[in-house]
Symmetry: C2
Subunit: 369 residues, 2 copies
Amino acid sequence: MGNAAAGPFDDRGSRPHVEGDFAAEEVALANRNPGMPLEALRYEVTPVGLHYLLSHFDIPDLDAGTWRLQVGGRVERPLSIALDDLKRLPARTLRVTMECAGNGRGRMRPRYPSMPWMNEAVGTAEWTGTPLARVLEQAGPLGDAVEVAFLGADRGFDRGVEHDYGRSLALAHATTEDVLLAWAMNGAPLLPQHGYPCRLLVPGWYGMASVKWLARIEVLDRAFDGFQQAVGYHYRRHAGDPGVPVTTQRVRSLMVPPGMPDWYTRERCLDAGPVVLHGRAWAGGGVDVTRVEVGIDGQWHDAQVSEAGRHRYAWRAWRFRWQAQPGRHRLQCRAHAADGSVQPLEAEWNTAGMGNHSVQTVDVTVRAP
Amino acid sequence: MGNAAAGPFDDRGSRPHVEGDFAAEEVALANRNPGMPLEALRYEVTPVGLHYLLSHFDIPDLDAGTWRLQVGGRVERPLSIALDDLKRLPARTLRVTMECAGNGRGRMRPRYPSMPWMNEAVGTAEWTGTPLARVLEQAGPLGDAVEVAFLGADRGFDRGVEHDYGRSLALAHATTEDVLLAWAMNGAPLLPQHGYPCRLLVPGWYGMASVKWLARIEVLDRAFDGFQQAVGYHYRRHAGDPGVPVTTQRVRSLMVPPGMPDWYTRERCLDAGPVVLHGRAWAGGGVDVTRVEVGIDGQWHDAQVSEAGRHRYAWRAWRFRWQAQPGRHRLQCRAHAADGSVQPLEAEWNTAGMGNHSVQTVDVTVRAP
């Protein structure tokens, strides 16, 4: 880790918060980390190339033929597994809505300088892979094992600390049937940018848990102290706050912006008359979305939430019929989850701009027919 | 066009130029218009989802089964062509490096507020389609035909003007064998974001010419006055300058940034010793790249330019062996084309930030072994 001088919860080297305009570094990150254009909410499964992507370092150049997954640490039998061996084990396919923990960071005030997501860091895919549990069974965790760490082949620096991208899960979580070693997305081999040839998939958690370009699995008798686990990805209220680890996705809904956009401002214009507002809603950790409301100029109305094709970890479609009258209108949507959580109107501020699931607002101009 | 009040070369409503930090509107455009991460220069053909994308308006929701291409205007036989009919005509496949005319806009000073590309608005694909010439032959342009206009299914506003995205070509250009009505990319049907079910492909020109989601072709006896042809996409030195239309790509080279990045700044770090610097170079209009130079701290050296698998409209690989010494170094690359053109060290400024093919600069820190 090369991080010996820093305590595990230290966030030294954090960049100062900013307001207003965006730095060239933020724009450069946005140029290489695409969001999902919100009109793509129309697709139940996001088409290839429209799913959001966040790569901390460079996309590694890996060869599936020579790739091996190393499994070591506190296990009875260290393993070195080829992709073909992994594929010979029983596979599962899960439809999963994945979202970046930093989604909405660009809408927080003040803002932490990092990838400046507005609303678009989301996508849904059909992931196929081998349950991690099968591989852990083969390796045989020792009695003192408590965590499992996942290291990627991508390496770089964050706040001065050089490291392989890495994250961990509690052993009890890692051995559930829904955590996959995924080697296919939407029925095809993983694309380089999605973790080829094999990545971890942790349904219901923010995307940082689903380590791409998986290289090593380490079974640990202690908490993993990797940078992205111990320093990054915490909800902290102020510098020095030990904070709360970022885990499952917060309940959220998004709307396809109706009408036509202006190229630059993305302001919307539509014709008066009946309009079907629609979008999708999801909650983390396999919790169900129970209700979606649509706000029209601050008045909230229940939307219809689809019962079609339910998947535990995937978003649900919603729709609302609106009679659009000429003038300026403010459209919003907010979802409720079975655990009682609901989207806030304003972001719950935290130092790194994590988990901003505050409601999306779309301002539209309706013109007379 | 709804643009009657404006002369064809008027750029009224242009946004004021800016310097320094970036507006939220620019960041929102970057969130929905992805660039190609430069490490993907390693691929001769850009993997699906890593090719750059620029959509002026929303991605339309089109159905290949009901889609028809309308061909009208100054023709003997107006046509309405189904996709299957188009696919029954003889097809061609071309490997084409496509680039956005706005690539590099974010590096100009002062800067026009629009999509803030740095270097990444590029990609190479194998496009398959029917030569446009076959369809124009069927329609039979009348004797007074001089231009062919291409209208997309995407509609919105730019500087107050509502329009379908549209561009034109001279009839003599439109009837060459290399201009395609493309319906496949890398051997698969077009993805929604790349123009499904059918787009124009104009090899050697900047991407704005290759109209996506093609809906209508109009043969004209005059110059097309559509907004994106008459107002947008010109090289202008000042407001009121009639300007020069943006057409073919300018000669350009890019380098895979060597070593490891810092997450936020993307500054690079690598170990001292031999390093192979590599990248790709291309020129527009089917012109050949004749030479690529690599700059090391301002000293220029010839790179090796690959002769492998030459394609008239696709980039060529180059490589240069560098003995990296500890310290800070500035790496650059510049390409020369057969027409005598060469990349400038500084951008040639124009009002809309078009065609900035100035050399890429990568600053690296080399550490002792």
